[in-house]
Structures are given as structure tokens and as C-alpha cells.
């Protein structure tokens, strides 16, 4: 086994081993402090292992690990955020008596999430997807408030739904393959010729869209992200939603292309990105606004992937991964920043707010930040038609939403007494912040194929600046609209779904009544007789 393969394996197994170690009570008590180290092998793998390497573990594991460019980009960003958020959690949750339990859920979610970026075979992809989905439940309900439980229940229902869609899609993918656990690449290559092609792709998109939070399957994000403790929100919003992104990257046939489905994905993405902005602007709580911003950003990612699928352009996956890692780091830093702001007052507050402003506006495409880079890198792909226009508008919307966010955090932090955050929280935040600024610069040439110098040209700067200005101006007007705040409840259409609850309850009661009737002796007896006759007939009158 080569060192590269060992490192890949360690990236997946190290957090799992730590989780298993938590079976020992003594280790569990100190588990919080190892969170920072858990994703380090993954980080090392993303940096050190050359692209295209893979590792195969034979029976009984039948596990294949591969590292390609999109995987490596996402893995590196995610591992960094996990590590920093882990350090943040170790500092912020020391007094929490339930912290050991939190650490176990954390390690499991982490193993699942990071493993997803590496795994190359169908069965283990599903396994890790499930692990990441279900373990995140423990993070969401950690605070044990009523809101957290409600969010947890809705999250689990939707996660299970996503699992179901995904399971049947994967089964349809692999059903005709001679290997019981085929490599993802080979089943995806067979997909365009499959008779069940459209059904499979529809189910794949449904399953992964649920995880990403595309409208109308986004309802769990704005409920779950604010309910979780701050470091957990950071990874939920930064990394866990990317499970859907990597799923689409891995399972959609970008080589062959599927124009109709690409168009559908684009449509879904545009609706989602607008919807996230509009609903987000009506929200009162900073974390909720960030969650809606995530919804909106995932919409943009869906557009990118949709374009790639429509035009049969495999490079789209690299660009999407690039965009995603920008979002991972920035959104993670923003969530952690909310925690920092809550513990900051007085003199330092201004500095922190300034940094937060840079981060927030980066999502809208602030020049020289990762957001601007991401937008510029993806621009050629979108062309110059209506799609580019729509994306520009979306950038304006993002800016507006972020201005709204900044107004909220400034107001929230205004009354803080003079204090400064513990270094154990401040340092990780700074690391993520710095990474969000630095990493996209270093990756830019490799991803976009252009030089860094091209970014500094005035034309390029203007390209990203004017939508921001537009967004800021819009926000100036929107901010004055009366009764805007709180107009739409958190989780928006879940409220509609809850209106259907009496219907469901009625149906369930009806089933209960039917059961009572069926379990009456004469009715069951009649059923027995009828079944005997039916079965006898079935067996007799068929030669």
C-alpha cells in the first residue's frame, strides 16, 4: 500500500477511530479537545496526495477511495473548516455537561462528510452519506430546546426522504452492473445508455437537492442551522450541505451531458437563489439570515452544475467545487463570527465588525475577495446571455441580503459590554477568515486557467463591483419597507406543510379505525375464508 493510499485511508478512518475511542468513558470526557485534530489527516491528504490517486480495499470492506480535483478542493476546504470549528467548539463548550455526547456526534458527522469527498464506490458512498445525514441530527438537537427538537424532527424526516430517493436511484444505477458494489465512475458512464435513465437522474437530483437545500426542499436549513450550537452551525451550513454538491458532481453524467436535465437544474437553481434572498431579507435573526443565504448560494451552485450538464462540460465540476469551497470557508467564518461578536464588546468590536463586513460582502463578490474570484472564474462558463444577467442579479441579491445581515449583527452587538473573545475561539476564526481569503487565490490559476494578474484589471474589478453597488442601493430602499421583518416565518413553506397536518392526522385516524374493524374476530375470520378462496382460485385456474 502506497503512502498516498494510507493517507487517504487515514483521512476517513482517523475520525472514525476517535469516535470508537469515545466508547471509553475516560476518552469521552476529553473528546472535545481532539476535535481539532480529527480532520487533519484529511487536510494533509488534500494537500499532499497528488490528484488522481486511488486506494482500493478488498473484501470484506470493498472500499474504493479516489482523489480527483473537485474532491481535493472540497476536501481541503472542508477539513480546514472542521478543524477550526472543532477548536472553536473545544473552547466554547468546555462548561457544557453534554459536551462529550456532542463530540461523538461531531466525529461521526465529520467522518461521513469528509469521507464523501473521497469515496469512489456506490455502496460506501451511500453509507457515508447516511452517516453524515443522521449523525448531524445529534448536532442539531444538542441545545435541547423545543425549537431544536422541532428542527431535528423536520431534519430527520427530510434526511430520511433524501436517503430513500438516493437509495432507489443508486439501486437503479447499479442494478444492471455485474459487480455488487461498482465504482461510481463506471455506473455513471453507463447511465446515459440505461433504460431507466430519466427516472434515475430525477431521483438523484431530488435526493441531493434535498441535502443541498434547493427550493422547495430547503425548509430544514433555516430551522436547523440557527438551532445548533455556533460551531455546529458553521459546519452544517459550510460543509454538510456540500454532501449534496459532491453527490451531483459524482453522479451526474457531465461527460455525456443531459441537456433537458441540465436546464431543469438551472431553473431550480435560479428559483432557489432568488427565493433565498427574498425570504432571507424578511428574517430577524442573524443565523437564520445566513441559513437563507446558504440556500441562495446553493441555488447558484446548482446553476453552475446545470450549465455543465447541459453543455456536457466536465470542467464545470471543478468550477463548482471552487465556488463551493469559497462558500464553505466564508460561510463557516461568518457563523463562527457570530459567536465571536457575541463575546466582543468595546474597542475591538469595530475591528471584528469590519472583518465580518469583508466576509459578508465577499459572498456578494467584493473585489479581491474569494467571492469575486469565484464569480470571475465561473463567468466564462455562463456566457453572456440571459443566464449571466440572472447571475449578476443574484450577486446583487446576495449583497442586499448580506447588508441586511450586517445591520442585524451590528444592532445585536451594539449593547455588548467591553470584553474580548477567548483566544481559543478568536484564533480559529481568524484562521478560517484568512484561509477564505488566501486559498481561492492559490487555486485560481489551476481552476480557471488564467493568471492571477488578470484579476486585478479594472474591467474585472468593475464586473463584480457594479452588482454589489446595485444590491446595496436596493437594500437602502428595502430597509425602509414597513412590516418587512418577520413577515415570513423561519422555514417558510414548512408552515404550509403543517397546515396539511389535520389531513394527515385524519388519514391516520381512519387507518386506526380500519385496524380496529379488521381486528374484530368475525371480520378476520371472513378475511381468512376469503383469502383461502382467492388463493385456491389463483392456484387452481392457472395452467
Amino acid at each position: 500500500m502506497t503512502p498516498a493510499a494510507l493517507l487517504l485511508a487515514a483521512a476517513l478512518l482517523f475520525p472514525l477511530l476517535l469516535a470508537i475511542g469515545c466508547l471509553s468513558a475516560r476518552f469521552r470526557a476529553r473528546a472535545l479537545s481532539v476535535l481539532v485534530a480529527a480532520p487533519l489527516p484529511a487536510l494533509a491528504a488534500a494537500i499532499l496526495v497528488p490528484e488522481g490517486r486511488f486506494a482500493f480495499f478488498p473484501q470484506p470492506f470493498r472500499l474504493t477511495l479516489v482523489l480527483d480535483q473537485p474532491g481535493a478542493i472540497l476536501l481541503g476546504g472542508a477539513a480546514l473548516l472542521w478543524s477550526a470549528a472543532g477548536a472553536f467548539a473545544a473552547s466554547s463548550m468546555t462548561r457544557d455537561p453534554a459536551a462529550p455526547r456532542f463530540a461523538v456526534w461531531w466525529l461521526l458527522t465529520l467522518a461521513g462528510c469528509l469521507g464523501l469527498f473521497l469515496v469512489g464506490d456506490v455502496v460506501n458512498f451511500y453509507l457515508l452519506f447516511t452517516l453524515a445525514s443522521l449523525a448531524a441530527y445529534g448536532l442539531i438537537i444538542h441545545e435541547q430546546s423545543a425549537a431544536a427538537h422541532r428542527a431535528g424532527v423536520i431534519y430527520v424526516v427530510l434526511a430520511l426522504l433524501a436517503e430513500a430517493f438516493l437509495l432507489i436511484a443508486l439501486v437503479m444505477l447499479a442494478a444492471t452492473h455485474p459487480d455488487a458494489n461498482p465504482p461510481i465512475r463506471s455506473v455513471v458512464a453507463d447511465l446515459p445508455a440505461s433504460p431507466m435513465r430519466d427516472g434515475t437522474v430525477a431521483l438523484l437530483i431530488l435526493g441531493f437537492a434535498l441535502k443541498m437545500g434547493l427550493v422547495p426542499l430547503h425548509v430544514w436549513l433555516p430551522l436547523a442551522h440557527p438551532a445548533a450550537p455556533t460551531p455546529a452551525s458553521a459546519v452544517l451550513s459550510g460543509v454538510v450541505v456540500k454532501a449534496g454538491v459532491i453527490g451531483l458532481i459524482r453522479f451526474l453524467p457531465f461527460e455525456a451531458g443531459m441537456p433537458a436535465w441540465g436546464a431543469a437544474l438551472i431553473g431550480l437553481g435560479i428559483v432557489t437563489s432568488c427565493y433565498g434572498v427574498v425570504v432571507g431579507i424578511t428574517q430577524r435573526r442573524a443565523k437564520t439570515v445566513l441559513a437563507y443565504s446558504t440556500v441562495s448560494q446553493m441555488g447558484l451552485l446548482a446553476v453552475l452544475l446545470g450549465v455543465g450538464l447541459e453543455t456536457a462540460d466536465p470542467d464545470a465540476t471543478n468550477l463548482a467545487a471552487y465556488y463551493a469551497v469559497h462558500h464553505t470557508l466564508v460561510k463557516g467564518a461568518l457563523f463562527l463570527g457570530i459567536g465571536i461578536l457575541a463575546a466582543t464588546g468595546g474597542r475591538r468590536l469595530g475591528l471584528v465588525l469590519l472583518l465580518m463586513a469583508v466576509l459578508a460582502l465577499s459572498l456578494g463578490g467584493l473585489p479581491l475577495t474569494s467571492g469575486a474570484l469565484a464569480k470571475l472564474a465561473t463567468k466564462p462558463m455562463l456566457g453572456y446571455g440571459w443566464l449571466a444577467g440572472a447571475m449578476t442579479l443574484a450577486a446583487a441579491g446576495s449583497t442586499a441580503l448580506m447588508v441586511h445581515f450586517l445591520l442585524i449583527v451590528r444592532r445585536d452587538a451594539a449593547g455588548n459590554p467591553a470584553m474580548s473573545p477567548p483566544i481559543g475561539q478568536f484564533a480559529p476564526w481568524l484562521v478560517v477568515l484568512a484561509a477564505s481569503l488566501v486559498i481561492p487565490w492559490s487555486l485560481y490559476p489551476a481552476v480557471s486557467g488564467e493568471t492571477v494578474a488578470s484579476l486585478l484589471q479594472p474591467e474585472a474589478l468593475w464586473k463584480v463591483t457594479w452588482p454589489m453597488l446595485l444590491g446595496a442601493v436596493v437594500m437602502l430602499f428595502v430597509d425602509r419597507l414597513p412590516r418587512r421583518l418577520g413577515l415570513i416565518p423561519e422555514g417558510d413553506i414548512v408552515v404550509l406543510a403543517q397546515a396539511g397536518a389535520p389531513l394527515v392526522r385524519g388519514l391516520s385516524n381512519r387507518i386506526g379505525e380500519v385496524d380496529v374493524n379488521l381486528r374484530r374476530w368475525p371480520v378476520a375470520g371472513l378475511g381468512l375464508i376469503a383469502l383461502a378462496i382467492l388463493l385456491g382460485g389463483a392456484l387452481m385456474f392457472r395452467a
Binding site: 371472513l526 381468512l528 375464508i529
Partner: protein, 114 residues
């Protein structure tokens, strides 16, 4: 006609009819004791079908095939045991119900653990 109405076939048909009658009693009768009686009628019908099979299979110096006969003997004993258990359950149930109705639990009845 006479060939098909040999004693074997005749009692076989009788058994078939008894099966229907027994089943009807079991399903429709509201009294639990009568349902147990119904089970016995059903059983009797089934045994008669075995008897018909045995009668048809006579040969080698025996008037009837001994194997189904032995099966019926085993079956009758099992059916009796089942009736005994059912009757005991029924009696106990009625005892407990009476106890409850009178507001006192049956003598030394243990309060149920789960």
C-alpha cells in the same frame, strides 16, 4: 355414480361439509365456548377426509391404509389438548372478569408486571 359414492368418497364429502359448518361456527358465533366446539367440528371434518383417504387406500390385506389412521389418532389427541387449554383459558378469563366486576382481583392475583 356408485363408484364415486364408495364409503370413502361419501365420508370424504361429509368431511368437506363438516369443515364448512365448523368454520361457519368459529367465525360467526359470538360465544367463545361455541367457537371451541366449532373447532372440534372442523377437526372432525378434517379427520373424516383423512378417513376417506385411508379407506380408498385399502390394500395388502388391510381394509384401509394404516398411515392416515395413525395420523388421525395423533390429530385427535392434539385437538383434545388444544380444547383443554382453550377451555382452561376461557374459564380463567371469566373468573378474572368476574373478579374485576366485583371490584376485587381474583384470589392472590399478581399485579401485572410488564
Amino acid at each position: 355414480m356408485t363408484a364415486s359414492l364408495s364409503p370413502g368418497a361419501l365420508f370424504g364429502l361429509c368431511g368437506a361439509a363438516l369443515v364448512g359448518i365448523g368454520l361457519y361456527a368459529i367465525v360467526t358465533h359470538p360465544g367463545l365456548l361455541r367457537r371451541i366446539v366449532g373447532c372440534n367440528i372442523l377437526g372432525a371434518g378434517i379427520f373424516l377426509v383423512f378417513g376417506a383417504v385411508a379407506r380408498r387406500g385399502g390394500g395388502a390385506g388391510f381394509e384401509a391404509d394404516p398411515v392416515p389412521q395413525a395420523l388421525v389418532i395423533t390429530g385427535i389427541v392434539v385437538a383434545f389438548s388444544a380444547s383443554a387449554l382453550a377451555v382452561a383459558l376461557l374459564k380463567r378469563l371469566s373468573e378474572l372478569n368476574v373478579g374485576e366486576r366485583n371490584g376485587t382481583a381474583a384470589p392472590t392475583e399478581q399485579r401485572g408486571r410488564l
